[in-house]
Point group: C2
């Protein structure tokens, strides 16, 4: 403990150079990307500020209000009574949504699709909930029939996914919301990934309502640090009724606010400022061109994969392609040795590619070349 300033700078720089660099375009296994430059600049300005003590961070608190207002507008929140918070990511948002639902209902069962992100498994363990898993249809979406069987008088909440982590699938949210509403149960939508894709994904996507425009949807998680082009750690939880947070309020003496309603105490102001800068800097036009670009690259990857004899596990609805493969981990390892980050899915057994904004036509073409070599060794 304790080294000279020069040696310290050198060690920090070395470690930095060891982390993967999104801008090299070789990462196809992550939902994060190289953030918008304005967002990085804003994050750097707010490195020392803590919104966890909001009285000392009135500038950040104002930016958070603006972020929430902009996102309530984007995701069709009602004109009155809705609210939201900038959090550390989808995990915190999903845990918080189920925490509110459990405390408000004093019930224990959660109806959720088998495609739900592992943060829900954490939330279920943490909160002592009982999962009622809903099987998926052949496109990776929650089966409405099975959801109907799973819901009942003990249900605390229903979860639906807008852009599943593995396949990018979008559940039948209007029908699930109607079901939840008929049972007087909240419906939480995990749009951590899809939230910053679907609004700009064109006519097909526009026909899939997934947000607070759907009457029974009571909360929505969306991650600025995924397709929102902000740096980590930035998630957002939006709620139809601000009062939903009352059931999880905890007194916070010694702070400048009398109560705190989040999971964490510390709140990085940098995430709020960065999210604000990403939203305002890119605007609708920036996100639309971003989404169009990654969907074009996804089409390039899909066509290239098909030309190599691969079949997609489902027809992609956003910038995620999973190709069926009997041994995806072998291909993943082989590709990693060649400097590519790709990932695998176990059911259905597939190789998964998330085509993020740091990808280019050139890197997708290079990826396909190496993938071709891999497939000669490990046929699908």
């Amino acid at each position: 403990m304790g080294i000279g300033a020069r040696a310290l700078r050198q060690r920090v720089r070395t470690a930095e150079s060891e982390d993967w660099d999104f801008s090299e375009g070789r990462i196809f296994g992550s939902m994060c990307t190289q953030p918008a430059p304005a967002a990085v600049a804003a994050a750097r300005r707010f490195v020392t500020s803590n919104l966890g003590n909001p009285g000392l961070a009135p500038g950040t608190a104002r930016l958070e209000e603006e972020v929430v207002a902009v996102l309530l507008d984007l995701f069709h929140g009602p004109a009155f009574g809705a609210g939201g918070w900038v959090l550390s990511g989808g995990t915190e948002a999903n845990i918080t949504a189920l925490w509110m639902a459990r405390n408000a209902s004093r019930k224990r069962e959660v109806v959720l699709p088998e495609s739900a992100h592992f943060s829900f498994v954490k939330a279920i363990d943490l909160l002592g909930l009982e999962p009622r898993w809903v099987p998926l249809d052949d496109q990776g979406r929650a089966s409405l029939e099975d959801a109907r069987k799973a819901i009942g008088p003990r249900t605390a909440a229903v979860v639906a996914i807008a852009g599943s982590t593995e396949l990018g699938a979008v559940d039948p949210i209007p029908a699930l919301a109607e079901l939840a509403r008929a049972h007087g149960v909240p419906l939480h939508v995990d749009a951590a990934f899809g939230g910053f894709v679907l609004p700009w994904a064109g006519p097909a996507a526009a026909s899939v309502p997934f947000d607070l425009a759907v009457p029974g949807v009571t909360s929505l998680a969306v991650d600025p640090h995924k397709m929102g082009m902000a740096p980590v750690p930035a998630g957002v939880l939006l709620v139809r009724h601000r009062e939903m947070a009352r059931s999880i309020a905890v007194a916070s003496p010694y702070l400048s606010s009398p109560q705190t309603t989040g999971l964490l105490g510390t709140r990085a102001s940098s995430a709020v400022a960065a999210t604000y800068a990403a939203l305002m800097g890119l605007g609708h036009r920036g996100y639309a061109s971003n989404v169009r670009r990654v969907l074009d690259l996804t089409a390039q990857l899909l066509a290239g994969g098909r030309a190599l004899g691969l079949r997609p596990a489902v027809e992609p609805t956003m910038n995620i392609v999973a190709f069926l493969h009997r041994n995806p981990v072998a291909v993943q390892t082989w590709m990693l040795e060649r400097g590519w980050d790709v990932s695998s899915v176990s059911a259905p057994s597939s190789l998964r590619f998330v085509v993020m904004p740091h990808a280019t036509r050139g890197t997708v073409a290079a990826l396909l070349r190496d993938l071709g070599s891999a497939l000669r060794r490990f046929p699908p």
Copy 2:
């Protein structure tokens, strides 16, 4: 949504200027401070990296290992088997410690002092635990007698505090640890604040063992972003046995690691790099001089307060002073109007001052002058 680059920069700068600036030295109500410059620089370098997907952040993962090794050394972890993680702060660390204890024991009761930080109230609600509150002695420390009565066959964990949020009190940790050990129960120490004070607080403090040197202490939370001189959001959880994390492991497919053991999914690499830079940049010498300085300023404030007719609620053991006052909120509000951030404690009713490294002899003297005026209006 969407404004020009120049207008955006202006708005971000305006918001930044609205947040309080630690370096002006007028904040006495927060446990955060102006971080070490090397730590801020390191945080800025790692703004886009996410240790939540460690395969893409091998440099950060290595820095985390070094941070954990350095802190296990500082806090006397055993030579073999101990472990730790850099988290987002004390709340995440405290929740995680109780989560592990509940899952490992399948028991529900937690014995904790009335001085426990409100993050434990959150953890208790989240995890469905039952608190057995231990009253405090006249110095704000957990009463050993009452802890003895509270512990029993249903106890999942005992909590002890090394530097309570309100008074900076240190519980009788060796005796509590012996008690916990006799019952085969883990003891978690919340040293979020005191962890970076006590090792350098001089002979009196050295006689209070509080860390993993004490045999029954099984985990310890300490916050680099408080007296550790790193920017938010940086907390650390150390455990005597790495296997303690097994009970909370959740499978994390699609990521580069097969399992995840933390509460959150996203993990800001910037916090890890900043903590590394603070520890290595300051070293023992830097922390020792930092602690000596704030303890001197605390003595200045204590003497000045006494000269104004105030009495401390307890004899300060670290850089926190609480002066008894029948209406602390009135004084707090009055001081806020004059640009001072101070806080209040309800039991015993007092005005609380945290003397952080951004304070100076000059700001303490100025604070005392304004406090004198406040007391003429609101006598203690």
